[in-house]
Symmetry: C2
């Protein structure tokens, strides 16, 4: 005899994201998610294949949220100002959502990884700006340099790895400024 559904995939993903933000990935257990949506753990398997798929669905939402955040920041006409705005927005987002940030950039089992096309969307605004700064020929290398720096910086900042003193905000500004000039060099528009 059919019984009405008491939850939904959307509700499960939303509950999972809330648990992630509040207490981190390791606190994201099937039974805790189930409790949050008002069922028992085994019932979740009617909506998701397993914990890995749930993690992947959450990561997809997070990637889309980040893409929107970066798109919204990339409104400057000047590409140097645009790059700075993207970098600043990225850092602000990462510091505000550290667990979500790690979900995107830490290593995860293959079946928990974000869909490639969703991931590509996050990189879009940056790729366009890098192309403007570095020229088409070096756009990809330039974007990779900036993305690598930004990811490494936030990973270290969130891990508390900057332990040798100094001002972390200043180190970030230094990096943005120097990288902007570095990828601009040798562009078709001159130094």
């Amino acid at each position: 005899m059919p019984t009405p559904a008491r939850t939904s995939t959307d509700a499960i993903v939303a509950a999972g994201r809330a648990i992630l933000d509040a207490d981190g990935l390791e606190a994201l257990t099937m039974s805790r998610v189930a409790a949050a949506v008002g069922v028992r753990a085994p019932s979740l398997y009617k909506r998701v294949r397993g914990r890995s798929e749930l993690v992947r669905l959450i990561a997809n939402d997070v990637a889309i949220e980040l893409a929107h955040t970066l798109d919204a920041a990339a409104t400057a006409k000047d590409p140097a100002a645009g790059l700075r705005a993207i970098a600043v927005a990225f850092r602000a987002w990462a510091l505000a959502h550290p667990e979500a940030y790690h979900l995107l950039f830490d290593r995860l089992p293959d079946d928990a990884r974000v869909d490639p096309q969703v991931n590509a969307r996050s990189a879009d605004a940056l790729l366009r700006t890098a192309a403007e700064l570095a020229g088409e020929r070096h756009a990809l290398d330039a974007a990779r340099t900036v993305v690598a720096w930004a990811n490494g910086f936030l990973n270290m900042e969130l891990a508390g790895a900057f332990r040798l003193g100094g001002d972390v905000d200043e180190a970030f500004d230094f990096g943005v400024e120097r990288l902007t000039r570095a990828i601009r060099e040798e562009s078709p528009f001159g130094p």
Copy 2:
């Protein structure tokens, strides 16, 4: 009645490192380590406080190994060549020991993290070279920029995150070259 020890902390750490390199951190279970040294899992608790401490001991060894690798690479007289050599050695080491790399740079529970002074030793060669290139005033910011870039790059390369085509080796060379010039700018020795 006293019985002779059948294993040692060193043997446990070495076995743990071997399992880590072979199959990754999640395969590093207490029972697997115990089997590798010829005892049962509960016996490990005579030598280490728990899995977290074992992970930390392994991470310390890994950090020291990396520090030696980077020190050995930093022999060039020219600081630009030195920076390139350090970066290349770092990448080669990370690609050869991906699990060890992640153990050092991924987020871990506090009680599993490398001792701060051991961690600082890894950064030493780079800090000296950065000081030569960027000048004392910007040495720390410059080192942070380079370390962030290198960590981010390897994290992405190991995660298979460079999926938009192009040559990854070339992107690495591009990054090294541009970063070297970027942190050198405005040094007391001129451009």
